[in-house]
């Protein structure tokens, strides 16, 4: 199993650093959630990812004002595409994770792993 986690450097990436990460996780560090493109999300699945997480700052606490909101919109858009091509859109998720919330990061990843295990069972 492989989970690709796109992390905003300012928040989720810091949280990831406080967490124990399962071996399945690949972290992709971004300067801001707003940098993520739909193409990246789809390419992640193409490259063999079973699940993709986009973890950014809280929407109203983004250093670049609307970077997190844009990340969320792109995730929603990519979910539509996934639906059309027959991939469970739940395999792609957006969550806000602040820099001091290691436990939340860990829980989101664990939930994703759990969900994927259930889906493949």
């Amino acid at each position: 199993m492989r989970i690709v986690v796109f992390c905003c450097e300012n928040s989720a990436y810091q949280a990831a650093r406080q967490s124990r990460l399962p071996a399945e996780v690949d972290l992709i560090r971004l300067p801001c959630g707003g940098r993520v493109e739909v193409l990246h999300l789809l390419r992640a699945f193409e490259g063999g990812a079973d699940g993709v997480l986009v973890l950014t700052c809280q929407e109203d606490n983004c250093q670049s004002l609307h970077g997190s909101a844009r990340a969320r919109h792109r995730v929603e858009y990519a979910k539509e595409i996934l639906k059309e091509i027959g991939i469970d859109p739940e395999r792609l998720q957006w969550h806000p994770v602040t820099s001091n919330m290691g436990p939340r990061f860990q829980k989101i990843v664990a939930d994703m792993v759990e969900g994927l295990k259930l889906a493949s069972a």
Binding site: R2, V4, N10, A16, R17, Q18, S19, R20, L21, P22, A23, V25, D26, L27, I28, L30, P31, C32, G34, R35, V36, E37, L39, H40, R43, A44, G47, G48, A49, D60, N61, C62, Q63, S64, L65, H66, G67, R70, R74
Partner: protein, 514 residues
């Protein structure tokens, strides 16, 4: 082929086999101390003539910038250092993280640093307490300033009020002496009865156009301070109408100057549950003054008394001690006006909700305090949303700061704090005389740009501009804050963000696939 060195920190728990298959030239175990780390890093880098390095360790991220700074000082490209933090990873995770870092490293290109001269001068819009403090501090730090004030004289809202503040410094005295100091200073230009028209340029070199009574003038400055103040709004929703017996809290000072000798005065605060501590402060000041001057019976009605902090609490106690009564209403009181009296009817929770009916000869109502200058901010695409990262005085645009009541409800010490902090920030920005920035971190490939203006529209930091000569968009490197949103949104993929370009991200994505 590029020569990449891998540096492994002690305790990272990596064996060199993880690095197999990469074009790694040298692996060396590094001492954990930051200083020694930098020495050894630079030494090895130069000795092996490396093109870049990957630093693998247990806690190296905190020292990342420190190492980059050392590299820069040693004349090496700090941008070609990739730091991998392996905390929290097991063996397999470590291998994958290292692999990803190698992939990322292979896609790195060097960036170039540039220095630009800055205008060592600050442009301050608004001459109230916050703006004056910014000017005063900047002058003490040796930077010239321009103050633009829309009124005939400096001083702002606080300058029109008088005494009775619970602070160590008397605001009115302070304002008077500060204005005098600034007026004497040849390095301070003051434009009163003037209105800012347009702002062009970027951090380090802003160009401000001002409408003065004698015509439009243009001034340059390296930074801008917005001290736009506040405005009050009558609480229409309450159904109250201003009149001889019902007045707004903002008129209190002019009122208490007269010897009106009202016998019974009520303050009605907190009308929409959003009363402010500034309103409470004004009411307490007024209550004490009325009690003192007129000897009237004073009642204060509110939902919550906003007394957060020592000065306000001490004033509240003083007011109680002098016999001012405080009521906490839950439902908005019924107000009836008849001739010489205003009657309030409300349920007092402390009397087990008995109805209290009192007639007053003066009712003073708290108004809503709103930030001023919204039009200006919109025109200049400046904003300071409720975003903790911009706290206290930064805005979305580099080199533009917001201070005082235009960014938050604020009392005198708050305004002083804001002005001082902004001055400190500006000194750090302009004090050296030049600005250092990464020249080509975000680049527009002009041949691909179709002039759609998407980047100009979405750039949250006001860094995207139009270059009419090149006929392409241009990301101003001094103003850019490197979020990469333009690169993500550019429909023509004309914008490249070094270090986070599509090729690099894609390669990282494919690398882990099976």
């Amino acid at each position: 082929m590029a020569r990449w060195g891998a540096f492994i920190c002690d305790g990272a728990g990596v064996d060199e086999s993880s690095l197999a298959g990469a074009e790694v030239v040298v692996t060396t175990t590094l001492p954990p101390q930051a200083g020694d780390l930098a020495c050894k890093l630079i030494g090895t880098w130069t000795r092996y003539n490396l093109d870049g390095g990957i630093l693998i360790g247990a806690v190296p991220e905190l020292v990342e910038e420190l190492l980059k700074e050392s590299l820069r000082q040693a004349g090496l490209d700090p941008f070609r250092l990739v730091v991998v933090d392996l905390r929290g990873r097991d063996k397999e995770g470590k291998d994958r993280e290292i692999k990803a870092a190698l992939t990322r490293a292979r896609h790195l290109e060097p960036t170039h640093w540039a220095k630009a001269k800055v205008e060592q001068r600050a442009l301050i819009i608004g001459g109230g307490a916050a703006g004056l403090q910014a000017a005063l501090s900047l002058r003490q730090l040796g930077l010239p300033v321009l103050i633009v004030e829309k009124e005939e004289s400096l001083g702002g809202r606080l300058g029109k009020l008088d005494g009775l503040y619970p602070y160590d410094v008397d605001p009115q005295g302070w304002i008077k002496s500060t204005i005098a100091t600034l007026q004497e200073d040849p390095e301070v230009e003051i434009l009163t009865a003037s209105k800012p028209l347009a702002l062009a340029g970027q951090v380090g070199d802003f160009i401000l156009e001002v409408q003065t009574p004698t015509g439009a003038v243009t001034r340059r400055g390296g930074a801008v301070v917005l001290a736009l103040g506040s405005k009050v709004r009558w609480p229409q929703e309450s159904g109250l109408e201003p009149g001889p017996r019902v007045v707004g809290l903002s008129r209190l000072d002019e009122l208490t100057r007269f010897r009106l000798r009202h016998k019974k005065v009520a303050f009605l605060l907190d009308l929409d549950e959003l009363g402010s501590r500034v309103g409470t402060l004004s009411a307490l000041r007024g209550a004490l003054r009325i009690k003192d001057n007129w000897g009237s019976e004073v009642h204060v009605l509110c939902r919550h008394l906003k007394v957060d902090g020592k000065p306000l609490e001490s004033m509240y106690r003083k007011a109680r001690d002098m016999g001012v009564l405080f009521f906490k209403y839950e439902e908005f009181p019924q107000v009836t006006e008849s001739g010489e009296e205003v009657t309030l009817q409300f349920k007092d929770p402390d009397l087990e909700y008995m109805v209290v009916e009192e007639a007053y000869d003066l009712l003073i109502v708290e108004e809503e305090i709103l930030p001023a200058g919204e039009e200006l901010m919109e025109a200049w695409s400046v904003s300071q949303p409720a975003n903790v990262r911009l706290y206290p005085v930064a805005t979305n645009r580099k080199g533009i700061y917001m201070v005082g009541c235009c960014r938050d409800e604020m009392d005198f010490p708050g305004a002083i704090q804001d002005g001082t902090v902004a001055a400190g920030e500006i000194y750090a920005l302009l004090g050296e005389g030049d600005l250092l920035y990464e020249e080509d971190r975000v680049k527009v490939r002009s041949e691909k740009c179709v002039f759609c203006l998407t980047c100009v529209r979405i750039c949250p930091h006001g860094a995207a501009e139009i270059d009419l000569v090149q006929e392409a968009a241009f990301i101003n490197p001094a103003a850019c804050q490197a979020c990469g949103m333009c690169a993500a949104d550019c429909p023509a993929q004309a914008i490249v963000y070094k270090g986070f370009d599509n090729e690099g991200i894609m390669a990282q994505l494919e690398m882990g696939g099976r």
